[in-house]
């Protein structure tokens, strides 16, 4: 980076930092809070969040969403994606996101199918 211009806003401009160093510490605090929430939920597992939602427990969806939030801030602020050109950002993120979603959909679908085959008694596993 020839020019050291950093975009110093996170959360769509809700929080503005004065310097890049300050932004780094701010993002650390944000990531720590998210991790702490995950750990507390992971230890206590509130019964209310065990309701099934879109094929998984609601709690698991919360974990996955919080993980993606963390991944976003690591990529955008630690890896400086926020300061790259829009096209570089899209080349990297869209490619990966598309392929990963595709892969996960296919494999989880297949895994669920194999479970059903076992479960409905075509294969006896406990011989």
């Amino acid at each position: 980076m020839a020019d050291h211009a950093h975009k110093l806003e996170i959360l769509r401009g809700l929080i503005k930092f004065k310097s890049n160093t300050q932004k780094i510490w701010g993002v650390l605090i944000l990531l720590s809070i998210v991790t702490a929430v995950e750990v507390v939920l992971g230890i206590y597992k509130p019964a209310a969040l065990k309701a099934p939602f879109l094929g998984m427990k609601l709690l698991n969806w919360i974990f996955i969403i919080l993980t993606i939030v963390k991944a976003y801030y690591i990529t955008w602020d630690f890896m400086h994606m926020r300061d790259e050109t829009k096209s570089l950002r899209r080349v990297v993120v869209w490619t990966a996101v598309f392929l990963i979603c595709y892969l996960i959909f296919i494999l989880l679908q297949e895994g669920g199918y194999v479970f059903d085959v076992y479960h409905d008694g075509f294969v006896k596993t406990d011989f």
């Binding site: 780094i24 720590s32 991944a71 890896m79 990966a96 989880l108 895994g111 669920g112 194999v114 011989f127």
Partner: protein, 326 residues
């Protein structure tokens, strides 16, 4: 003679060379290439883990019951240590990004300090992971594997786990010894025998009224199914095949063999990334001290290595979620 003048006809064009397409230098662009492909590799592993887990969704081990140890502390502390590891890795990512920031300001002293802290963070993480592995391999309670490859664990009346060593009745006259090449047929041998035999466990189970067998199957409340006293004895007597202590690639006391296989493979692959990251960071650290980048008048190399280091952190965030939380 216009023809002999070296001219590629691409001056001023973005993709003509000697230029930075997307305003990223060649090195940084290649690092992003690598990161995208490596991210897909890890996604492949994690998706395969998801596949196997969905395949055995009603019998997969519960992570909270497997990873409960903290070094130097006895007792049951699920999640605590791995949360600490996550924090260490995020923290070392922060020192790395501070090093990059100091590099932009050509501040050699600060880059040196922050690179050093990053390396320390990486070493703590790799050390912690080695300890996790050792604890996982050693195991805690022990279990019995059935002829069908399922794992039977032991609990008391209140549902607390009971270790084999607490109830197995030792048979003083057991004749079975490890089969070694020197003592049997020359081409046969076997691994270390478990501490107890299935019959010792069975005798212990019969002698202790309050011990029950817990199967792999997860019931509707999200707990493992506990069998009745009668069923417990029958299961061990009729189906018990070998005693399993700890974990290896064939069997583990926590449940499905695939669980340990994926644990070793994915955290191992990630740990190897951290290890190589530490090695690369050390090389860069010495280059910083020697003033290589001072002479080069830019610290972009620190930035490129930083990208890799953050990527390792990024992968860990997902491994953490899918192995320990979900």
């Amino acid at each position: 003679m216009d023809n002999t003048v070296v001219s590629t006809g691409t001056e001023g064009k973005t993709w003509g060379g000697g230029n930075k397409p997307l305003k990223a230098s060649y090195g940084k662009m290649m690092m992003w290439f690598f990161i995208v492909s490596d991210a897909l590799t890890f996604s492949g592993f994690l998706a395969a883990y998801g596949f196997s887990r969905f395949k055995f969704i009603d019998s997969w081990p519960i992570a909270d019951e497997v990873f409960t140890h903290v070094p130097f502390f006895h007792g049951n502390y699920p999640m605590i240590y791995v949360a600490f590891m996550t924090f260490v890795l995020i923290m070392s990512s922060v020192t790395m990004v501070l090093a990059v920031d100091a590099g932009h300001k050509m501040d050699k002293a600060k880059v040196t300090i922050y690179m050093f802290l990053t390396i320390i963070g990486g070493l703590i993480f790799v050390g912690s992971q080695a300890w996790e592995w050792a604890t996982f391999i050693k195991g805690d309670y022990g279990a019995v594997q059935t002829k069908g490859g399922n794992i039977l664990q032991f609990v008391d009346n209140e549902g607390h786990r009971v270790a084999l060593r607490d109830f197995a009745v030792i048979d003083e006259h057991k004749e079975r010894v490890q089969d070694q090449r020197k003592s049997g047929i020359w081409f046969t041998s076997e691994g270390t025998l478990p501490t107890y035999t299935v019959s010792e466990v069975l005798h212990g189970l019969e002698a202790n009224e309050n011990i029950l067998v817990r199967t792999q199957i997860i019931n509707e409340e999200g707990h493992k199914t506990v069998l009745s006293r009668e069923e417990s004895i029958n299961q061990i007597k009729n189906n018990g095949k070998v005693v399993v202590e700890g974990a290896n690639l064939h069997a583990n006391e926590y449940g499905s063999p695939l669980f340990a296989d994926f644990f070793f493979f994915i955290t191992g692959f990630h740990g190897f990334h951290v290890f190589s990251g530490v090695v690369i960071n050390i090389i860069i650290f010495f280059n910083v001290i020697l003033g290589t980048y001072e002479r080069r008048k830019n610290y972009e190399m620190v930035e490129k290595v930083g990208l890799y280091w953050h990527f390792v952190d990024l992968v860990w965030v997902f491994v953490f979620t899918f192995f320990y939380l979900v």
